[in-house]
């Protein structure tokens, strides 16, 4: 039994800007480009937009991110819904969810959900953008972190990955298989930043960042923006592009408590979030055709596959061929645009944007043949927050 809201709302417009090392613009500029592309995609006019939800990326923590003033910058004068949201990598799913609930109940008709970021500066490193550069030194207990040499999300995810790998006997080569598989998809994705084919040897030769992570275990850092426009199924039907109907929505936020009572690192919020979304959609893991999973690191993909019930704990790697670079090897239908590892890092909008493309069947050379049920995940903190969207080209 599905929920009555299944298929009643849809993503009707998608705007993906140029991605990666695109310099000379701030996050607001990228946001403007993304909403312009999204209304063009949907066949809407600017004045049709009556809802705006925004999520800044890392520039939100550096003081230069998009927020409520984006309304003024874009001249949106008809807003009936407006908010700045943040549950980190789970935000994009949550924005679409709250937008869907709002349009379903008549609070707004067309809600633009925008993620925009511009942390990369010419001559600066990607690591600097996420390593805490530009932020004030911590005091109190938090000041122990740099004193011990803990820096950035790379460290906290590597810690989580190590615990998972030792528990289930997962090797670095296994993480490499995920990285190489996703790159093979990125080769066929015109939006992707990294389109050079990759081998397992390349993976092993890439430098260590935080062992067990090589460089090629870590996502990109990108300048750019993605806008999705959410409306009712009824409105979406008559618009220019085919809708991606929202079948299921869920969230799960286990948090991160540093105490023996709570296991962290080898579980995520996907279990709870997935159950909620599956129930709403009236589907189960066996019905999923395509997965677009938040892949800040290779490890995150394996963990997420298992938490959605698509493999038993420790067995997600079994979905990947021994050598994914082999053109004869069949890849799992997971992160079909290359994901955050190889295409672009727009936090939770990376999986959703590729999910919309796959649901619509507009994936070109990388299009998955059967794409009735597309499962998208968002994940924030160190597996602390989680959001799920189940999309479909079918209204019911």
């Amino acid at each position: 039994m599905s929920d009555p809201i299944r298929g009643q709302t849809a993503i009707c417009g998608l705007g993906i800007t140029e991605m990666g090392k695109v310099y000379g613009h701030d996050a607001s500029w990228f946001a403007g480009e993304s909403i312009r592309l999204a209304i063009e995609d949907a066949g809407l006019e600017k004045d049709d937009i009556d809802g705006l939800l925004v999520n800044p990326g890392i520039t939100g923590m550096m003081g230069t991110g998009i927020s409520i003033p984006l309304q003024g910058y874009l001249g949106l004068r008809n807003l009936r819904l407006l908010n700045h949201m943040n549950s980190f990598g789970a935000t994009a799913s949550a924005m679409v969810q709250y937008a869907a609930l709002a349009v379903h109940h008549g609070m707004a008709n067309y809600v633009a959900c925008i993620f925009a970021d511009a942390p990369l500066q010419q001559g600066g490193s990607a690591g600097a953008a996420y390593g805490g550069a530009g932020r004030r030194g911590p005091t109190g207990m938090a000041s122990l972190m740099p004193a011990f040499g803990f820096y950035g999300a790379n460290t906290s995810y590597a810690l989580a990955a190590r615990r998972y790998m030792e528990r289930y006997g997962i090797a670095n080569n296994d993480l490499g298989r995920v990285s190489v598989a996703q790159r093979r998809y990125a080769v066929d994705n015109p939006h992707a930043t990294m389109r050079q084919p990759l081998t397992l040897e390349d993976y092993h030769n890439s430098r260590w960042i935080v062992e067990p992570f090589h460089l090629l275990d870590c996502c990109l850092v990108s300048n750019g923006a993605v806008c999705t426009i959410v409306t009712t199924a009824e409105r979406a039907r008559d618009l220019k592009s085919s809708p991606a109907y929202v079948w299921g929505m869920g969230q799960g936020h286990p948090g991160n408590f540093p105490h023996a009572e709570i296991e962290v690192g080898t579980t995520s919020g996907a279990t709870v979030s997935g159950e909620t979304a599956y129930r709403m959609a009236g589907v189960g893991p066996e019905d999923v055709d395509v997965c677009e999973f938040y892949d800040c690191y290779t490890y995150t993909v394996l963990r997420t596959i298992e938490d959605y019930g698509l493999a038993k704990p420790g067995e997600a790697i079994g979905l990947y061929p021994e050598d994914p670079a082999d053109p004869e090897a069949e890849l799992p239908m997971i992160n079909t645009g290359g994901g955050q590892l190889s295409s672009y890092y727009m936090w939770g909008m990376t999986p959703i944007s590729e999910g919309v493309i796959q649901a619509r069947g507009s994936g070109g050379d990388r299009q998955v043949e059967k794409h009735d049920i597309v499962l998208c995940s968002g994940n924030g903190g160190t597996l602390d927050t989680h959001g799920t969207l189940i999309l479909s080209p079918n209204a019911n």
């Binding site: 803990f150 820096y151 460290t155 030792e166 960042i209 540093p258 023996a260």
Partner: protein, 134 residues
């Protein structure tokens, strides 16, 4: 050569913890109403929201919850140390601590390995609680 790595910067609430380190004591917050040890410092117990607590000295015993080798240089002062070992240690009292593992052969480190606290007096005013094999 003078110690040039980032140093802890205590605030009013956490000063007793850092003073404890100077005396080579690892202090944890103990909340009697929930019989709960908590770390890092918070002014409220996250179990029952009690604000009634006391400092108690930890046994300093625990096990490796997880660990990594840091290769990336984020701050120039770590240049000579890289790669160094970061760990999360599960204390026997319950809380988990971020720390460094020292005096250990990297090939020997495993999740679950028993460790005990050691105090490194990095400057005249600053001591860091690190862990070594028990």
């Amino acid at each position: 050569m003078a110690y040039d790595k980032p140093l802890p910067s205590p605030d009013e609430q956490t000063q007793p913890f850092f003073d404890g380190l100077r005396e080579h004591k690892l202090l944890l917050q103990y909340f009697p109403s929930a019989d709960h040890y908590q770390y890092p410092y918070s002014d409220r117990c996250y179990k029952d929201w009690s604000t009634d607590w006391e400092w108690r000295e930890s046994s300093g015993n625990g096990e490796v919850y997880t660990w990594v080798r840091m290769h990336q240089l984020y701050h120039p002062s770590w240049k000579e140390e890289i790669p160094y070992t970061l760990a999360v240690v599960q204390l026997d009292e319950g809380p988990r601590m971020n720390t460094n593992l020292v005096n250990v052969d990297v090939d020997e480190i495993r999740v679950g390995m028993r460790v005990k606290v050691m105090f490194e007096d990095v400057t005249d005013e600053h001591t860091l609680p690190k862990f070594e094999p028990a």
